[in-house]
Amino acid sequence: MATSVLDHAGAVGIHAEKTGLWAWITTVDHKKIGILYGASAFIFFLIGGLEALIIRWQLMKPDNNFVTPEFYNQLFTMHGTTMIFLAVMPLSAMFFNFFIPLLIGARDVAFPRLNAFSFWVFLFGGLFLNSSFLFNAAPNGGWFGYANLSSKQYSPGLNMDFWAMGLQILGIASLAAGVNFFVTILNMRAPGMKLIRMPMFVWMSFITQLLVLLSFPVITVALILLMFDRLFGTNFFVPAGGGDTILWQHLFWVFGHPEVYILILPAFGIISEVLPVFSRKPLFGYTAMVFSGCFIAFLGFGVWSHHMFSTGMGPIADSVFSLATMLIAIPTGVKVFNWMGTTWGGSIQMKTPMYFALGFIAMFIMGGLSGVMHSSAPADLQQTDTYFVVAHFHYVLFGGSIFALVSGAYYWWPKMFGHMLDEGLGKVHFWLMLIGFNLTFFPMHIVGLEGMPRRVYTYPAGLGFESLNRLETIGSLILGFSFLVFIFNVIKSALSKVPAPADPWNGATLEWSIPSPPQEFNFPSIPTVHGRDPFWEEKRARGGKLPEPARVSGAGIHLPDPSYWPFLAAVGVLLLFIALMHHDSKFGPAYIFAAVSVLFFSIFNWVFEPFHEG
């Protein structure tokens, strides 16, 4: 693949590790891009968390006026949008970037510059969305932007323009990354790495990319129509002009339901890597895991209307979508039983990643069960728009996705940064997070069934919501504090500089066969794979633990050159959307023309840049 002899002088110099701002801006190294994704997404995660804490502070007591109703609308909208598009998705992208090439035995992704472009567009999209706070115009119509609440008539400010355009920018980043990783996984596998031997994280990521590729175009269209309504006065979602507001819900949820699997499937993948390693057993039911993942994704496109039972679709549609939704419990159940089967009879090592992985299984089962409750249309009609729904999706998104992402962070941290996180602090983090999480979200089931509506900035005294809401707020503070422990752990381990061995956990997959952190070229020579747990098999064949792999010179290994055109093209995308915000100003057309020029100029230079794909 890439061990060809270099055809120009100064070859060794190319592989000197580069640092400094310019090196990060021009990097096309999937590992650096992964770290950029992780760092940005974690900051957005903290912002989204802060928004959640303000929400909880407001709801701590009845008739509170800590924030205004208007600001409360902005808080819950930005909290949802941030956590989904700016935290969980890019945190998964961090693992895609850093680990997919390592897990399949490749030197980089298929399109390193496109990868950089995806990251910069994502970052600019996130900054664009959050910049709305500076104009006191943060999105305020919910993360689902229901028409015609989001139309010009009911949202006259710039708020929902920021939302629609911000999501459009983020969609471009996701689609570019989707194409890139789809091709990378199909085409860049090391010799012997057949599809049915791929690590489960790679499989789940592959399915996730398919979901991204097939669902994001739909939200793109929905957002285009909304933007046309808002910017140009069309009537797509304006009932007075004949428009149908329910069409928005259909388009949104045709995207929105696959989106929840985009959020959870990478988490399934991480758990399926962590559990075998800390149980010292291969993943139980590998093939069933692959096919249940495919089945979940397939069904995921046929259940969108279970978000819309309350719109009155009629008994036939309600029944079909109820049944399809219940069906999803089967492949998901298969996964849960396989995870338990993996630990069954294993030699369990209770390290921090394992704590979070086991926590994930327990919390995710609870979220899954309340999900099955929603699949029944009559029950859902009672639960719609109550805190019961909030409890459900936090159990799957926080108890599921975030627990798994944190598990992955503790598991792969030594590989990414070359030093271990502290085990003791990690366990403190786990227990605080588990307790805080359940204190925050479990009572929401109860207040939800008692009728407390979501998205309302306060509640009157005397309805029996007070004590449980106070408990939730206390829980949320514990939850927030648990992440301070994590940050402290990160800082402590960075300062202590205790070097991590290449294989601290007795790992099964290829990334543990190379030094921590990996060298720029990943593998001195591309490995050949003979089975599903290639590194375990190699260790067994060579009689147990292997000597620490040496850091070697990369001379003769051809890597892609750094490039600043992806960054500039991403700037062009950002400028285009800023220009669209000003389309009706005096210089509107000029702004748009200038932005398109920057974009085209960057793309042409990108295409014609002498560049070796490695």
């Binding site: 890439a2 739909v218 285009i224 069309t234 009537n235």
Partner: protein, 195 residues
């Protein structure tokens, strides 16, 4: 296989960029499927005219459709010429493809202007909104395709697209076919089923 000799071996044997353009096209299918669905959902739902049957000029659009269909044949011949190293065949048919594309865009610009003078705007009714959005995005795709093909043509004239680099051209050709196929759906669904 000559054309792929310069590319590193991939697990599937398909060059990365070719797989990527197919993947992108797969994703674009959902984009146009959504736009066409929106058009169909709003078919016959306009509160005021002009309505489709009053305003469409089927003969003109038929000519445009034919041009686009033939351009797909031309681009195949051009790619064949490129792969054979037959410069005349490559550039000749590519020029024909580009001309067809430009005529199609011209047809659409004329049609849009005509509709505008007839009183059909995006703001007028749901037909105007969904029609201009669907065909406008298709037209944008055609325009990007024409720019892409012109870039390939200039590179070809400069001798930068030898048979070994035919994939550079093939990617734009695949995209061009896709844009054409979308129109094959739009033409009957929008223009012929116009009641």
């Amino acid at each position: 296989m000559d054309a792929h000799a310069l590319h590193p071996a991939t697990s599937t044997g398909i060059p990365n960029r070719k797989l990527a353009i197919w993947t992108f096209i797969g994703s674009e299918c959902l984009f146009f499927a959504s736009l066409i669905s929106v058009y169909l959902v709003y078919r016959g739902k306009s509160l005021v005219g002009p309505y489709p049957a009053e305003i469409f000029e089927i003969p003109l659009v038929t000519v445009g459709t034919a041009l686009l269909l033939f351009s797909s044949l031309f681009v195949v011949l051009a790619l064949n010429g490129c792969e054979q190293g037959n410069r005349k065949k490559f550039l000749g048919w590519l020029a024909m493809t580009i001309l067809c594309g430009i005529f199609f865009i011209g047809m659409q610009v004329y049609e849009f202007t005509h509709f505008y003078h007839e009183g059909l705007t995006m703001q007028k009714n749901l037909f105007g909104a969904s029609f201009f959005t669907l065909t406008g995005f298709h037209g944008t795709h055609v325009t990007i395709g024409v720019i892409w093909l012109i870039s390939i043509f200039i590179e070809g004239v400069r001798g930068h697209v030898p048979p070994a680099k035919a994939l550079n051209f093939e990617m734009s050709a695949l995209y061009w076919h896709f844009v054409d196929v979308v129109w094959i759906v739009i033409f009957p669904v929008v223009y012929l089923m116009n009641k």
